[in-house]
């Protein structure tokens, strides 16, 4: 029994130490961000990788999400004779929840795993040590631009997601299911308020930080083996996804 408690205690201590190390990791990266040289070129490069190159998968996901929302929503609303509210149902679902969460999950799967793998391989092949020996801080050169790109890129992707999703809903609701176009867009306009939009933006900024933070951390501290890299990539995606969902609940409860 004592042995079990000791093991549990050791596990808990390890987890707390890791949380502390993660926090120090992101704080030191942000601290280095404020010091010259300011890596605008690196930030733009990462913004291109995280943001621009995720656009296709985000548009695809958004389109089909909006379409299936409209499909499901139409038949539910028709029972109450409220098909005219389809636009508001799709728009509010997208802007408040599905846009930030699903866009962040798509970015995690695509760009987050790639970030972990890239940094992990750099760790294993001593490229990060090489940066250290050249007196170039790896947190400033590698990590900080990715954090900034995540914070800037994910909200932009979420905006695209919301717009494409609402249009996807319109495609199904108006063109396929016969909801009045005027009713659809009027209900969007009347239901969506500024607090819904900034709530979605706030969530997307937080999720962008979570994705880049967790994925960079896991890659930076990869164990020196192929198995270690594989584990790091898996853990990064799983942890990011879980934290996005947990964070969504926390932020929703705060915002409501």
């Amino acid at each position: 029994m004592t042995h079990v408690i000791a093991q549990l205690g050791a596990w808990a201590v390890m987890r707390i130490q890791e949380m502390g190390r993660m926090l120090l990791f992101v704080l030191s990266a942000f601290a280095w961000l404020a010091r010259p040289p300011f890596r605008f070129h690196q930030i733009m490069k990462q913004l291109h990788f995280i943001g621009y190159r995720s656009t296709f998968v985000v548009v695809l996901t958004a389109g089909f999400t909006g379409m299936v929302l409209a499909l499901q929503g139409y038949y539910s609303l028709r029972k109450f004779g409220s098909e005219g509210l389809l636009g508001s149902a799709v728009a509010l679902s997208m802007i408040r929840e599905l846009g930030p969460v699903l866009a962040a999950l798509m970015v995690t799967a695509r760009a987050g795993s790639a970030m972990t793998a890239e940094i992990g391989i750099m760790r294993i092949t001593e490229q990060i040590d090489a940066l250290d020996t050249m007196a170039i801080n790896p947190r400033q050169y590698l990590i900080a631009p990715k954090l900034v790109a995540g914070i800037l890129g994910v909200p932009l992707l979420v905006a695209i997601f919301d717009v494409v999703g609402i249009y996807g809903g319109s495609l199904v609701g108006v063109d396929l299911l016969g909801v009045s176009q005027g009713a659809y867009w009027n209900s969007v306009e009347s239901a969506v308020e500024w607090k819904d939009v900034y709530g979605g933006i706030l969530k997307s900024v937080c999720f962008g930080l979570i994705v880049s933070w967790v994925c960079c951390y896991k890659g930076f501290y990869t164990r020196q083996s192929a198995e270690g890299l594989g584990s790091a990539t898996t853990e990064a995606v799983v942890l990011s996804s879980v934290l996005i969902l947990v964070g969504d609940y926390v932020l929703t409860s705060v915002l409501l």
Binding site: P37, T125, E126, Q127, D129, A130, D132, T133, I136, N137
Partner: protein, 251 residues
Amino acid sequence: MIKLVGVEKTLGGQPVLQGIDLSIPVGKLTTIIGGSGSGKSVLLKHMIGLMQPDRGEVWVGDIEISRLSGTPLNNVRKQFAMLFQGAALFDSLSVFENVAFPLREKLRMKGPEVGRRVEEKLEEVGLTGMGHKFPAELSGGMRKRAGLARALVMEPEIILFDEPTTGLDPLMAKSIHDLIVTMHRRFGFTAVMVSHEIPEIFGISDWVAMLRKGRIALMATSAEFQRTTDPDIQEFISVGGTVALPGSFVG
């Protein structure tokens, strides 16, 4: 210039360095040898602050670096360059960009001067015309040469070589050794090399130090080292440096 005093280091619960006292002569080529797992690379990493000792001191000039971090440590590192075992070239950059990297990042150099210095270094290491290639397109020997060019481009005072010929065929290994010696004689930097290549290292090194059971068993000039009467050391150098001596770190 580099001095280790009483350095101890434990990794994975196993003591690796158990009281290292070592002074690296300035302007000379010193090679560190020892059995597999004896801690040679660990020792090398302490010299540039990539690892910190559990006990002891590491001096670079008159600065003790074992507890330094951040900007003060980076200032000390400006004297150094390092050639890693796998060359550690940045995969996403071409050979030209890899060699230019320290010039652009540390000296903020721009324009044709960068190209001139990079081409000069590539020519010195025998990689003329290879600047456009990426690391994945290079052979092992070419990657080492590119890594050496990158190490030399800033004209450092100290260069550390971590097993520069590991994984190369004997002819390629000899060419890398010859290149290191040529560069050393031309530029006069302090060189510290970790190597398994016995007896070749005796022909190129000024000083040789042997690591055994976590301590420096012997440090002497190349000629004096070969004349040692220590039976373990004689056995080690006579079988070509491939035997794991007692007290080696495995992990």
